[in-house]
C-alpha cells in the first residue's frame, strides 16, 4: 500500500505540472480552459488580417525594387526578378530629396518638442492642480475636440499671410506651442493615476509646482509623453494639407508635399518605382521610431485609458 502511494503521488504531480506548462496558453486569465479550436481560429483570423495589413507595405517595398519593365508587367510579380537597388539612388537624386527630408525633420522635431512640453504643462494644470472651475474649463477642451476644423483654415491662412510667414515653416510649428485638445485629454487621463499623496508630500516638503512638474511627474508620465510624441511626430511628418497650403516654394517643402508636387510637375521624369523608393525612405524613420517605442506607446495609450 505505502509503496504504491509513494510511487503514484510524485508521478501525478509531475504530469500535472507538465500539463499546466503545455496548457498555459489555452487557458484564460482566470484559469478556465478555452475550447481547443478557439486559439486556432483566433490565430488564423489574425494571420489573415496581418497579411492584408502588411500587403501595402510589402507592395511598396517590392515595387521600389522592380525595374521599369517589371513594374509594368502583367500579371504582377510578387518577388522582384532583379533587385534594382539603384532605384533608391535614382529617387534621391531625381528630386531634391535631402532638402525635403531636412525640412520635414526640422518641422517634425520642433513640433514634437513643443507638443510634449505645452501639452504636458496644460495637462498638469488640469490633472494635478486643484482650482475653482477647472472641470468646467476641461469640458471646453473636450468640446473643441469635436469641432470641424476646416472652418479655421481660411482665417489662419489670411493671418499668416498678413504676418508674411507663408512659405516659412512657422505656420506649421507655432500652433504646437499651445497644446491640443486630444493630447491634453490623453495626458490628463494618465496624470490622474498618479497618487495625490505623492504630490502633496512634495508640496508639504516645500517643493514648488514647477519643480514637482519636472522632477516628480515628468519621469512618471514618460509612457504617456512617448505616446503624445509619437502621435505628434506621425501627424507632423505625414501632414499633407498644412504644407500644401503654406509651403509653395520647393526650398521649404516637406517630403509629403514635395513628392506629390514632384509627381504632378515632373510626371515624365519620375517613375512609380522611384516614387515607391522615395516613399519607403519617407516611412522608414517612422517605422523605426514605432518599433523602438512600440511597448511604451501601447502602454501610454491603454493605461491612461479612454473611459
Amino acid at each position: 500500500m505505502s509503496t504504491t502511494l509513494r510511487t503514484e503521488s510524485p508521478r501525478n504531480r509531475r504530469s500535472a505540472a507538465r500539463s499546466v506548462d503545455a496548457d498555459q496558453l489555452n487557458r484564460r486569465a482566470d484559469g478556465t480552459r478555452r475550447p481547443w479550436y478557439s486559439s486556432v481560429i483566433a490565430r488564423v483570423v489574425m494571420v489573415v488580417l496581418s497579411v492584408i495589413f502588411l500587403l501595402p507595405l510589402y507592395w511598396m517595398v517590392i515595387s521600389s525594387l522592380k525595374s521599369d519593365e517589371e513594374l509594368a508587367k502583367f500579371p504582377p510579380t510578387f518577388i522582384p526578378q532583379s533587385w534594382q537597388f539603384g532605384n533608391f539612388v535614382d529617387a534621391v537624386s531625381a528630386m531634391p530629396f535631402l532638402q525635403f527630408f531636412m525640412n520635414s525633420a526640422i518641422i517634425t522635431v520642433s513640433v514634437v518638442i513643443f507638443s510634449v512640453i505645452s501639452n504636458f504643462v496644460v495637462a498638469y494644470g488640469f490633472a494635478c492642480l486643484k482650482w475653482p472651475g477647472r472641470d468646467l474649463v476641461f469640458y471646453l477642451v473636450i468640446a473643441t475636440l469635436f469641432l470641424p476644423f476646416p472652418v479655421t483654415l481660411i482665417p489662419m491662412f489670411d493671418m499668416w499671410a498678413r504676418l508674411g510667414l507663408v512659405n516659412t515653416m512657422f505656420p506649421l510649428i507655432i500652433p504646437a506651442m499651445f497644446g491640443s485638445a486630444f493630447y491634453v485629454f490623453l495626458l490628463r487621463q494618465f496624470l490622474l493615476q498618479i497618487p495625490r499623496d505623492m504630490l502633496d508630500a512634495a508640496r508639504i516638503d516645500g517643493a514648488r509646482e514647477w519643480t514637482i512638474l519636472w522632477r516628480l511627474v515628468f519621469p512618471t508620465a514618460k509612457p504617456a509623453l512617448t505616446t503624445v510624441a509619437i502621435f505628434a511626430a506621425v501627424a507632423s511628418w505625414n501632414d499633407f494639407m498644412g504644407p500644401l497650403i503654406y509651403l509653395q516654394d520647393e526650398s521649404v517643402q516637406t517630403l509629403s508635399i514635395g513628392l506629390q508636387s514632384f509627381r504632378s510637375v515632373h510626371a515624365q521624369d519620375v517613375s512609380f518605382n522611384q516614387l515607391m523608393a522615395a516613399s519607403f525612405l519617407v516611412i522608414l524613420p517612422l517605422l523605426i521610431l514605432f518599433f523602438v517605442f512600440q511597448r511604451h506607446f501601447i502602454r501610454g495609450i491603454t493605461i491612461g485609458g479612454f473611459k
Partner: protein, 333 residues
C-alpha cells in the same frame, strides 16, 4: 448641450479625493467669484497660469478664426485688399451651386460607408490586438503599421495596385473570371470605393482607442457571465459592446468628423482634380479649390461655415441619440 453629453462621457472625478471637490467647485467663475476665498483665488491663478498656453491657443487658433470665418462668409474676398460685404450672397450661390450638391453627395456617400465600416474594422483589430497569445505584440505592430504610412504614399501604392494594365487588383478579379482591365480609379463610383478601402487600412488609430477601452473592462464581469453559461457571442453582445459604448461614441464622432473632411487621399489619387466626372470631388476639395485655386476666400468661408454647422449638428445629434445607448454605469478599472 455638448457639455452635458461630455460630462456624462468623461468621468472627471477619476481621482477619488478630488471627485467631491471638483464637482462642488462646479459653478461658473462669474457666479462663484465673490465666494472664492483667498486660497481659492491663489489656486485659480496658479491653475490658469498652467493652462495659459491652451487659453492663448484657443483664442488665436479657434475663437478668432471661427469668428473671422463667419464674417468672411458674408463678403467677397480674394486675399488682397479689403473684403467687400455681400450679405447672404455666398450662401445663396452655394445652395444653387451644382458642384456643392455634387461634392456634398460624394462626401455623404463616403461617410455612410466609411464610418460604419471603419468602426467595424477598428473593433475587429482591437479584439485581435487584445488576444491572449504570445505573439500579440507583433499583431499590434502590424495592424498599426499602415497608420504610419502617409496618405500620399498610400495613394501611390493604391495607384499601382489598381492600375488597369498591371495592378494586383485586376489579377485578383481575373481569378473570378471577367475582370479584364477594370479601372476603378477611372470610374466616378469606383474612385470613391477605392478611397474608402484605402481609409480602412488606417483604422489602427481608432483600434488603439478601442483597445484602451477593452482593457478597461473588468475581467470579473466576463467570469461571472461565463459561470452563468454565456458563450463568446453573448458575452460580446451583452458585456463588451455596452461597456465599450463610450469609446464607440468617441470613435463614431471623430469618424464622422473625419469623413466630412476627407481630402488628402482624393487630392492625390486624382492629382487635385477630383475627376473622373467629379466623382472624387469631396466637399473639402471643392472648398480648397475655391479658396486656393480660384481665390474666392469669401465663398470658401461660406462653404466652411456650412460644413462647420453640419459637423456640429451631427455631433450634437449623435450625443443626443447616444444617451439611450451609451452606458456609463460600470466604472471600469
Amino acid at each position: 448641450m455638448t457639455a452635458t453629453g461630455v460630462k456624462a462621457r468623461v468621468p472627471v472625478g477619476d481621482a477619488p479625493p478630488e471627485a467631491a471637490d471638483g464637482t462642488a467647485e462646479g459653478p461658473p467663475p462669474e457666479r462663484g467669484r465673490r465666494r472664492l476665498s483667498r486660497t481659492d483665488r491663489r489656486d485659480l491663478a496658479l491653475g490658469l497660469k498652467y493652462i495659459s498656453p491652451w487659453i492663448v491657443g484657443i483664442l488665436v487658433f479657434v475663437v478668432y478664426p471661427v469668428g473671422y470665418s463667419i464674417y468672411l462668409s458674408f463678403t467677397r474676398y480674394s486675399g488682397m485688399g479689403a473684403p467687400t460685404w455681400v450679405g447672404l450672397g455666398n450662401y445663396v450661390t452655394a445652395f444653387a451651386d451644382p458642384l456643392v450638391a455634387k461634392s456634398t453627395g460624394n462626401t455623404l456617400f463616403y461617410a455612410m460607408i466609411a464610418v460604419p465600416l471603419g468602426l467595424v474594422v477598428a473593433l475587429v483589430l482591437a479584439l485581435a490586438m487584445n488576444q491572449n497569445v504570445r505573439e500579440v505584440a507583433w499583431y499590434r505592430t502590424i495592424f498599426y503599421a499602415p497608420s504610419l504610412i502617409p496618405a500620399f504614399a498610400m495613394s501611390f501604392i493604391f495607384i499601382v495596385f489598381l492600375n488597369p494594365q498591371f495592378g494586383v487588383f485586376n489579377q485578383v478579379l481575373n481569378i473570378f473570371g471577367d475582370g479584364a482591365n477594370v479601372n476603378l480609379l477611372g470610374d466616378p463610383t469606383g474612385v470613391k470605393i477605392a478611397i474608402i478601402m484605402m481609409a480602412q487600412l488606417g483604422a489602427g488609430n481608432a483600434a488603439l482607442i478601442f483597445l484602451a477601452g477593452l482593457r478597461n473592462v473588468p475581467k470579473t464581469v466576463y467570469e461571472a457571465a461565463r459561470v452563468d453559461g454565456a458563450g463568446p457571442m453573448r458575452q460580446f453582445r451583452s458585456i463588451t459592446l455596452p461597456l465599450l459604448s463610450p469609446v464607440l461614441l468617441f470613435n463614431l464622432i471623430t469618424g464622422v468628423s473625419g469623413a466630412l473632411q476627407v481630402f488628402t487621399e482624393a487630392y492625390i489619387v486624382t492629382n487635385g482634380t477630383g475627376d473622373p466626372d467629379a466623382g472624387a470631388l469631396f466637399y473639402m476639395m471643392y472648398l480648397y479649390k475655391n479658396a486656393f485655386g480660384f481665390a474666392e476666400l469669401g465663398y470658401a468661408s461660406a462653404l466652411a461655415v456650412l460644413l462647420f454647422l453640419v459637423g456640429l449638428a451631427l455631433a450634437l445629434l449623435i450625443f443626443w441619440c447616444s444617451r439611450r445607448f451609451v452606458n456609463y454605469d460600470v466604472e471600469a478599472s
